[in-house]
């Protein structure tokens, strides 16, 4: 039977959770409530007047094919960022796990990019691939490849995915490595004695045993790709060329802060809120079942 620690009375527990509740209320419920309220109006930028439109903002957005296209862009972008950053991190973690000498240095070096803010990472990658002074662009030119993410939609998407995934690899690496090291050596050794080769051991034992970590990272990385990549997009492509890298969060910014269309911007925030809630529910209901703790 599970052992639970319990407090007597109501006041003390309430007092203990109060700070957390206050923080959540002030920084989450209040602004979210504001967004829902504002999404029902078309306000003027200065807050001088508001026109009640009911669900008009949602109707306007969902009937707009450029907004709908932004969903597809976001899906492609999030899937790519998540799979690239998790895939590379897992690969590096497996290598680091096998390393005996110098592993500390190796790990420390791998963790550094995590300290780089998305906007700064964006600027770094932008300079490497700049069409005029970029180092990588120059080498690609020597190979006869004309890199131009300013006009080529695929290259633009590739670049923002790389820049967004790069900083994230460190974070994922840390978790994967910790997960790998938590797997008892004896289990692996027993399998090795039974003649299982590395790939078989990885596929049938290590990866399933790693699944709680993988699941956690999946949720965290998708949320990252949805919300925290704004800096990268803003510094590298500003959503272009055409609308190739306009993800949903970038559109919230563009409509709200560039266009001063707060009604549309709020409605988009609400849609995003619903979308991410749904995504999290799906992840916990369907993927978590396959996770072995």
């Amino acid at each position: 039977m599970e052992k639970r620690v319990s407090f007597k009375g109501v006041l003390l527990p309430l007092l203990l959770v109060l700070p957390q509740l206050v923080v959540t209320a002030v920084f989450f419920f209040y602004p979210a409530g504001q967004a829902i309220w504002q999404s029902l109006f078309i306000p003027d930028p200065f807050g001088l007047s508001m026109q009640w439109v009911g669900l008009g903002n949602f109707d306007y957005l969902l009937s707009n094919r450029y907004y709908r296209a932004s969903f597809a862009t976001t899906a492609v972008f999030s899937i790519l960022v998540t799979s690239v950053s998790m895939g590379v991190a897992l690969f590096l973690a497996v290598l680091a796990d096998r390393l005996i000498r110098g592993s500390g240095v190796y790990r420390t070096l791998l963790i550094w990019p995590y300290a780089v803010a998305p906007a700064v990472a964006g600027v770094l990658w932008m300079f490497m691939f700049n069409t005029r002074v970029g180092v990588v662009t120059w080498y690609l030119g020597l190979l006869g490849y004309d890199w131009n993410h300013v006009l080529n939609e695929g290259e633009a998407m590739g670049l923002v995915v790389a820049a967004s995934a790069w900083g994230r690899i460190s974070y994922n690496f840390l978790f994967f490595l910790a997960g790998l090291q938590a797997i008892p050596r004896s289990v692996i050794e027993a399998a090795a004695i039974d003649g299982a080769r590395f790939w078989t051991r990885f596929r049938t034992m290590v990866f399933p045993l790693l699944s709680p970590t993988t699941f956690f990272l999946l949720v965290v990385n998708i949320v990252y790709a949805f919300f925290e990549t704004f800096g990268v997009i803003h510094t590298i492509t500003s959503g272009g060329p055409q609308q190739a890298t306009t993800i949903l969060v970038y559109k919230v910014y563009a409509d709200g802060f560039v266009g001063q269309d707060l009604g549309s911007s709020s409605a988009q925030s609400v849609i995003l809120l619903v979308l991410v809630s749904l995504l999290t529910v799906v992840q916990f209901r369907f993927i978590e079942r396959r996770v072995h703790y």
Partner: protein, 436 residues
């Protein structure tokens, strides 16, 4: 020791600041950094030193969009500055915000300040005056697009650097020659919507939007998909396909390429002068913006880009007096002439232009008066007075996206501009609804 020096600094700061208590503080938020920011600080310091009733405190609030947002957020929190710099595309937003601003003509009248709106150059003034002829905001920095030429690049391709580049037909022929000579970037541009659609329309006297480009009412609609615009964008698209026009980005990314000598011809604001003069290691020239020969009414006049100063509502009468004094100071011929010569922005008053000529600046820097001449060549028409469209910053983003589709060869000029009109009109209708 450290503590003592801190206190002595603090005490001396208080002593110096003491006379300021009697002064009225005027807050001025602007969008300039770097060299332009220093020049603004210089103007403010000169004003503060020249009188003792008011003290202007200037603050940079980021780029144009960020400054406008800072002003809006401050207004909502009842903390707005006295003067807010707003770029020209934000003009309609500010005009529609009737309770948030105090028109400049009214500020001047209430303060009893001598102010003559007719002193301003027509094409500059027109952008910021109401249809009744009342000046709503004070023009500050205004520029207009011109053609920058790398003379050395033309020579290297065996072209006479003094060749006539006044029409796009002639520019097209030069681009052919540059391409044939193996040049990798014959032509590039900055601010594509501003130069190749907004100014193109005004310069050829065709409308960009109905209702006199939005001056006549919020129910305006875009008509930038007319034959003149389509023909121009198609020509540019064809040049892009053939590698004669190279697209570098939505803002002024192409400037770095031109200044580095990579590109031969460059359409950019006249205010690019300061940067090109400092950085270019080659012989350059400035020419008037080309026009299409054969279009009736061309060349008309080009329109401005830049920013103006808006006076915000809700301040004390004493502050408004100070604002009036400061704005009058800024438009004085000496200040304007210096600003014009330092930056390449237009002299916004005729007297400032005359003063600059009298000082011999145009003789020493040939071509710097071209922008002024190009703008003042003709009396502005309903199509060339300027643009007043809501959500214009976003409409420009839409135009950027559609033009990129043309440069990439994904769309024809007609299809792209039709789509820009359709998408832009949706935003105009929302702006109309928000400001009903």
């Amino acid at each position: 020791m450290k503590l003592r020096s801190f206190f002595s600094t603090a005490v001396s700061a208080i002593v110096i600041a003491a006379p300021a208590v009697a002064q009225t503080q005027i807050d001025f938020w602007h969008a300039f950094t770097g060299r332009l920011g220093d020049l603004v600080a210089e103007q403010v310091a000169a004003f503060n030193a020249g009188q003792s009733d008011y003290v202007v405190v200037a603050n940079n609030k980021g780029n144009y969009s960020e400054t406008l947002n800072a002003g809006i957020a401050a207004f909502r929190a009842d903390e707005q500055p006295d003067i807010l710099m707003v770029f020209e595309v934000g003009t309609a937003t500010m005009m529609a915000a009737k309770g948030a601003i105090k028109p400049v003509y009214q500020v001047m009248a209430d303060a009893g300040a001598a102010f003559d709106p007719d002193a301003f150059i027509g094409a500059v003034k027109g952008y910021y005056t109401s249809t009744e002829g009342e000046m709503l905001s004070l023009p500050f920095n205004s520029s207009t697009p011109v053609l920058w030429v790398n003379r050395d690049a033309l020579k290297a391709a065996g072209i006479d650097p003094d060749t006539d580049l006044s029409t796009w037909q002639k520019v097209g022929a030069v681009l052919d020659q540059l391409k044939a000579a193996g040049h990798t970037c014959p032509l590039t541009t900055a601010w594509q919507s501003w130069i190749h659609l907004e100014n193109l329309s005004a310069y050829h006297n065709v409308p960009f939007a109905t209702k006199d480009n939005g001056f006549g009412g919020l129910d305006t609609e875009l008509v930038l998909n007319g034959p003149v615009q389509v023909a121009h964008i198609q020509a540019m698209g064809d040049w892009a396909r053939d590698g004669k026009f190279v697209y570098k980005g939505r803002r002024n990314e192409g400037g770095a390429d031109f200044r580095a000598g990579t590109c031969a011809l460059f359409t950019e604001s006249s205010a690019g002068y300061a940067g090109i003069k400092t950085e270019a290691q080659f012989d350059f020239a400035v020419r008037p913006l080309p026009y299409w020969e054969g279009v009736a009414g061309a060349p008309q006049n080009t329109i401005i880009g830049g920013a103006s100063l808006w006076v915000m509502a809700g301040q004390t009468p004493e502050e408004y007096k100070g604002v009036a004094a400061f704005l009058n100071f800024l438009s004085s011929p000496e200040i304007q002439a210096k600003w014009h010569q330092d930056t390449g922005y237009l002299p916004i008053t005729a007297t400032a232009a005359d003063l600059t000529r009298a000082q011999g600046f145009y003789d020493a820097n040939p071509g710097t008066d071209i922008a002024v001449e190009q703008m003042t060549a003709n009396v502005p028409t309903g199509n060339s007075k300027g643009l007043r469209l809501g959500s214009f910053d976003q409409i420009r983003s839409i135009i950027d996206e559609e033009l990129e589709a043309v440069w990439a060869g994904d769309k024809t000029a007609q299809a792209a501009l039709d789509s820009a009109v359709e998408r832009g009109n949706e935003l105009l209708r929302r702006f109309e609804a928000a400001n009903r």
